[in-house]
Amino acid sequence: MEPILNRAELMAADNVLLLLRPSNPPLSPAQKASADQRPPEQEVFLAIHGDGRIIALNGHVDLGTGIGTALAQIVAEELYVQPKDVQMILGDTDKAPNQGATIASATIQITAVPLRKAAATARQFLLEQAAARWQCQPDQLITRDGRVGNPTTQQSLSYGELVQGQAIHLQVDEHAALKPVDEYQIVGKSAARKDIPAKATGQFEYVHDVRIPGMLHGRVIRPPYAGRDGGEFIGNSLLGIDRDSIAHIPGIITVEVIGDFIGIVAEREEQADRAARELKVDWKPSPDLPDINDLENAIRNNPTDKTRTLVDEGNIEQALQETHKRLTRTYVWPYHMHGSIGPSCAVADIRNDQVLVWSGTQNPHILRADLAFLLNIDENRIEIIRHQAAGCYGRNCADDVCGDAVLLSRAVGHPVRVQLTREQEHLWEPKGAGQLMEVDGGIAADGRPYAYDFTTSYPSNGAPMLALLLTGVVEAIPAALEMGDRTSIPPYQFDHMRIRVEDMAPMVRAAWMRGVSAMPNTFAHESYIDELAAEAGEDPVAYRLKYLQDERAKELLQNTATRANWQPRTGSEAPGSNRTGNIVKGRGVAYARYIHSKFPGFGAAWAAWIADVEVDQDSGEVNVTRVTVGHDAGLMINPDGVKHQVHGNIVQSTSRVLKEEVTFNEIAVADKEWGSYPILTFPELPEVDVLLAEKPEEPPMGAGESASVPSAAAIANAIYDATGVRMRQPPFTPERVRNALEEAGVRPKLQQPTSNSRKPGWKSWLGGLSAATLGTLAMVSPWRAAIPEITQPLTSPYSAATIARGAEVFAAGDCAVCHTAEGGIRNAGGRPLETPFGTVYSTNLTPDPQTGIGKWSFTAFDRAMRQGISRDGKHLYPVFPYTAYQNISDGDMQALYAYIMSQPAVSQNNPKTELGFPFGMRPLMAGWNTLFQSNTRWQTNPTQTAQWNRGAYLVNGLGHCGACHSPRNLMGAEKTGIAFLAGGEVDGWEAPALNGSSRIPLNWTEPDLYDYLRTGYSEQHGPAAGPMAAVVEEMQQLPDADIQAIAHYLANLDEAAASPSTRSTAPQTTAAPVAATTTAALAAVPATANSSTTMTNPLNDASARMFESACAGCHETRPDWFGVNPNLAVNSNVHSDKADNLIRTILFGIQNPATSELGYMPGFANSMNNGQIANLLRYMRSKFASDKPAWQQLEQTIAHIRANPGSH
C-alpha cells in the first residue's frame, strides 16, 4: 500500500490534486493562549492522487463511534465514488487539519462541512479539466464511479488520469454547488462499519498495539492525592523514593523523578509494572477534600467565580409570590467516570530533535501544544499520530499518558510505551462533573407553567495535562470555565423565567463527559415539569405537548408516545396502583434537545424517552424494563450508525443513572476498579425500542450524545409513577430508593428487606421428605448408563392388591407434596422448591411416556430411588433424598412402582431447573452425588480397616497434619485429645479444623477430602490456598490409594478420635447410621440458616454491587472457563470464625494453586482499600453465612494482613 503523505509532503508532491483551506481552529475552552498564536497555514482537506487514490482528511477523530465510515460516505457522495474508494485520515497533526477537539457531537454537523465542500470543489474542477481536454462544456459531462465521461462521445477519463502530471493546489470553494439531497445514493443509506472486520479479528491497530523497534516499557507512579488538580500541594508532595526497593527487579533502565512525577522505564512491560508497584515512595500528607460524598453541600460551599444570567423574562421575583402552587426543588448530579474499558496508553519517541507521539487523544492539536509547553520546544517539532483507543465519551487520560510518555522517552532516548493501570485510569481520569440544580417556581391557577427560577452550579473541568501539573511546569490553580450552561433553558413556555449559571472552579479533576451539563440540567427541567403536570392534574405527555415551543420537539414527543402506546393519565389512578406483591410498575417520560458549545450554542439532535420501570419496594431495586426513545437527527448520513449511537446512549445513560457515582475518601477518589464503580451488565439491560425520525430534507444533526440527555428524568419520573416518590439525586440505587420510600412513608423502616415468603421454604418442604419422594431434576453425568426405555403394557400386570399397597406407600411418602404444583395436576410436578441453592422444580411423576416416567422400567425406577440416578443415567439433584430410600423393602418398592404406573398419565412439561450461582454447576452436583454413594460404600465397612490404619499413619506420621491443623498450647506444643486437628494457624493462614468443630455448612466427606487433597479443590469447600496449595502440590507424588486412605481416615476421625462433647455440637458428625448422617449433613445448611434468629437477607448496597462486579463473574458456574469457579456459599473460609483466609485471598489472590488446572485469582490489594474489602466481606458473610455472627474489626485485620503478607 502506498504510504500516506503528510501535509508538507503533499504540498511538495507531483501528480496530485489538493483541496486547501487556511487553518481556522476553534478555541477549546481549556486551550492556553500559546496554542493560538500560530499564523494561519494552508491545511489539506482532500487529496486525489494521480494513481486514483482519494485521501480525505478531518481534524476530528474517531472515538469509537464509526464516524470515519460516515465521513467517507459524505465524500463519496459528492465525488460520485464508493465509500470504499475514500481513505479517511483523522486527527494526525502532520496531516489532518486542526479542527479543534472532538467534542459536542459536532463532527458531522460542523467539521464535515468543509470536507463536503472540498469534495464538491474537486468534482467541479475535474469536470472542467475534462471539458477543456474534450473541448466541450462541463455541464455536458457526468461523473460516475470515479470517472468523468461524455455521454455523447462515449469518452471517459478517470480522476487519476485527469490529475496525472500536475500538482494542483485549489482553495476549497465555500460556495461550491453541492449535490442535491434528493439525488443522494450513499448518504442516508446504512453502511456497515468498515473497521469492524479488522477489530473482530485482531488486525486493528489501537494505540495500545503500537510497537516501535527498540521500544521500552514505562509505568508511572502517581501521588496519593488521586484525582485532584488544584492546590499548592500538587507537584510539591514528594519526599523521596527508595531506589533500592526495586533493585531485585531485573531490566530497569531508569527511574525518572521530576517534582511529583515518577516514571519507571524497563526492558519488559512486566518489569516496569512490578517495579511501579514495589518502589517505595514517601509522600507528604495531602490536605483534605471537602466532603464530596455530601455533594449538595460541597457544591454549595464551593465558591462561585461568576454568576451568569442567561435568561430573565418577566418578573420572576414577583411571579414566585403569585404562583398558585409553588414548588422549590433541589437536584444533585453525581460525579461520573468516563470509564473507558482500556486504560490509556501512548508511545513517544524523542530522537534527533523530533518528537513522535502515538496517541488516542480526543484533540491532537491541543495535545501538541501541551506537549510543546511541557518539553519547552516548538510545537512544529512534535507530530501526533492518532490511533483509536477505547471509547472515552469525553476526556479520559489519553492526553495525560502522552505527557508521561514524552518525559520517559526523553529520559532514556528510546521509544517508550506507557500503559496506565486500571487503578490509575479510574483515579485520575478527569471525572464527569457533579452538578447542583435548584429550581423555584410553580403553576398558575389554571395549571399552566407560571414561574421558573433555575440556578445551576457547575464545578468546572479544565483538567490541565497531569504531567504539566506534577512537574510544576503549570501551577495547579483551578480555573472556572463556562460549561454549566448546556441545555440550561427548559423547552417549555413559562410566563416568568430566570436562568442563572454559577461558574465555579473544580473541586476535583473533571472534564467534559457525554451530555456535559445538559444531562444534569435536563434531569432538573424534566423532573420539575413532571411535578408541575402532576400538580396541574394533567397527563405528563399532554402537559408537555401543550407547553413545548418547538414544533419538531412536539412532533417527536407525540410520535414517541404513540410508539410506546402511552396511556394518558387522568390523575385518578394514584402512583403505585400498578402493583404485584412488592413490585410496583411505572412509566416516565422526558424530552430534551442537546444544546452544546458556548452559550447560546448549537442544537444537536432531539430526543424523547419513555421508560418503564419495576420497583421492588422491599429491596429498593429499580429495574428499567423497557425504554422507548424517539430521536430526530435530521438527515442521517448512516442511519445504522445513528441507531447504534442511540443504543449506546441508552445503555450507557441507564448505567449512569441506575448505578454510577464516584466515591471519595478524605483526600482523594476512592474507586479503583469496576467493583467500586460498577456499570450496567448484560442481565440488567432493558428492552429497547428506537424510533428514528425520517427527515432527509433537514440538515444533519449530531447524534453522539442527545439520546443520553433525557434518561435520568425519564427513569426518575417512572419511579415516581411506580411509587409516588420523587428521586432527585441519581444514581437510583436500592439503598437510595429504600431511604426515599421510607422517608415518604411508602415503606416501613426496616433493616433489610424480608425474604419472599410465598413459596415453600427449604425447611418446610424438607419435612415432606420423610419418605419416598421422587427426585427432581436430572443432570448430565458421564458415569452411569441409561436403562432402556420400555413401553408400558396397556393393562397393568400388577394385582389390585399390589397397587393398593403402593398407594399406601405413596401416601406415607408424601410424594404428591412435592410433585404437585400449587393448583396444578396431581403428581404432574412443576412445584418450585426453594432451596438455599436456588429453585428446583419437581418432575412429572405420572406415567406419561414423553414428559413423565412412562418409559421407566422397574429397574430404572428402583435405581433412581436407591441411588439417585435417573433412567437416562443422569444424576438427580440431591434435593431428592434417595439415600433415605435405599432401605425401602423390595416389596414396597414394587408396589410403589405399580401404583404410580396405574395412575393417569398427564402430559405436562415443567420448568427446567436452572439453579443460579453457584449451584447450577454440574461438576458440583456430580461431586455431591458422589458423596452419597461413597457413604454407602463405607457403611459396609465401618470399622478400622487396613485403609483406615494407613490413613491414620499418614496423617499422624508422614503427613504431620496436626502441625498446622491443631491448635497449640501456651508452650507451643500441639494440643491433643479433643483439640487434636481442631484447627490451627500457619503463616498467618487459618488451618481449619479437621474434626467436628469446623464451622462449615457441609461436612467434609471422604470424597471431598479426596478431591481436595488430590486436586487442591473441593466443590463443597473451595480451593486449597496459601500453604495448603503447596502441600497439595507436594502430595501429587503420593499414590491414589494413600490419598484415599487419608481421606478415609479424616472422614472418620470423629468416631475414633473426638470426644463425645465434640460430637454433640456438630450434627454432621453423628456416627451412625450412615444414611442418616448424610441426610443430617445436608440438612445442616438450611436448618442452621433458618433457625438462626439473627438471620437477615444479604446486604443490598454498594457492597452487593461490588461483589457482583468484582467477584461474581468468576465465582459462578462456568464450565467453559479455564479453572474452577469456587462456590462461595459452601466455602469453608466464608463460614469460619475468622476472616483471615478470605482476606489473604482477596488481597493477594491465588497465583500458586496446587495445580494449574484450578486456575488463578488476581489479588486486589492495589485495587481496593481496607474499607472496601471490609464491606465486601460483610456482604459475603451476610449472603453466604447469614447464620454466623458478623466478623468484627475487619478493617484492622485487613490492615494487619496487608502489612504482614507472609510467604504464601
Binding site: 512490578r274 483507543a389 445504522d640 443504543h647 450507557q652 448430565v780 467453559d1120 479455564f1122
Partner: protein, 197 residues
C-alpha cells in the same frame, strides 16, 4: 502472597498453533507476553483483575483471562487468541456474527465478547435461552453501550449453531440489516486502509 522469583527463563508457548519460545519471568501475566513477545493485538489490557474480560483468550478451548493468569500456566497448553480463531483467511462463525450484527463501537471489548462467546457456544449442547445468553456475557464489560448489537451477534451465532430457528431465544436481531441473511464469510483484508482512522 508469593514473593515469586524474578528470574527470567526460557518458556515455550503454543499460541495459535505456532510454537514460540520467549525469555520471561514465568510468574508474570500471560497477557504481557501475548501483547509484547507474540505481538498480538487481540487480547487487550482492561483491568488486570479479571473483572472486564478484555484480555480473554482460549486455553485448551476454554475462556481464560490472560491478565490474571501467569505465564507458567500456559506451558504445555494450547493458547488461542482472537487472531487464531480465523483460519485460512475465513472468519470464525462467531466473528462473522459480530461483523454481521455490527457488534462494536470502539471495539475494545470485542475481543472478550467474541472469545467468551466462542468457548461458551463450543460447550453448549442445547439451545440456550435469552437469559443464558445474557448470563454468558455477564462478566464482560462494555462502556460504549454496544450491548444490544453484541446480543444480536450472539443470537446470530447461536442460531447458526442450533439452526431450528423458531424458538423465542433466536428471535431475529432488532437491527434490520440485509447482511443478516448472508452466510458467506468475509475474507480478511490484509493491511486494510480501514485498520486505523
Amino acid at each position: 502472597m508469593n514473593p515469586t522469583a524474578t528470574q527470567t527463563r526460557e518458556i515455550t508457548l503454543t499460541v495459535n498453533r505456532q510454537v514460540i519460545t520467549i525469555q520471561a519471568d514465568p510468574n508474570s501475566p500471560l497477557l504481557f507476553a501475548l501483547r509484547n513477545d507474540c505481538q498480538l493485538n487481540g487480547p487487550k489490557y482492561g483491568c488486570g483483575l479479571g473483572e472486564c474480560g478484555a484480555c480473554s483468550i482460549l486455553i485448551d478451548g476454554k475462556t481464560a483471562r490472560s491478565c490474571s493468569i501467569p505465564l507458567k500456566a500456559a506451558i504445555g497448553r494450547q493458547i488461542t487468541t482472537l487472531e487464531g480463531l480465523s483460519q485460512n483467511g475465513q472468519l470464525h462463525p462467531v466473528q462473522q456474527a459480530f461483523v454481521d450484527a455490527q457488534g462494536a463501537q470502539c471495539g475494545y471489548c470485542l475481543n472478550g465478547m467474541i472469545i467468551t462467546t466462542t468457548a461458551w457456544l463450543d460447550h453448549l449442547t442445547e439451545r440456550p435461552s435469552e437469559a443464558d445468553i445474557r448470563n454468558a456475557l455477564k462478566a464482560n464489560l462494555c462502556r460504549c453501550g454496544t450491548h444490544l448489537e453484541i446480543l444480536d451477534a450472539v443470537r446470530l451465532a447461536v442460531a447458526n449453531k442450533f439452526p431450528e430457528a423458531d424458538s423465542a431465544a433466536t428471535r431475529q436481531p432488532q437491527t434490520n440489516q440485509p447482511q443478516q441473511d448472508q452466510t458467506s464469510t468475509n475474507p480478511l483484508e490484509e493491511n486494510s486502509p480501514w485498520n486505523r482512522f
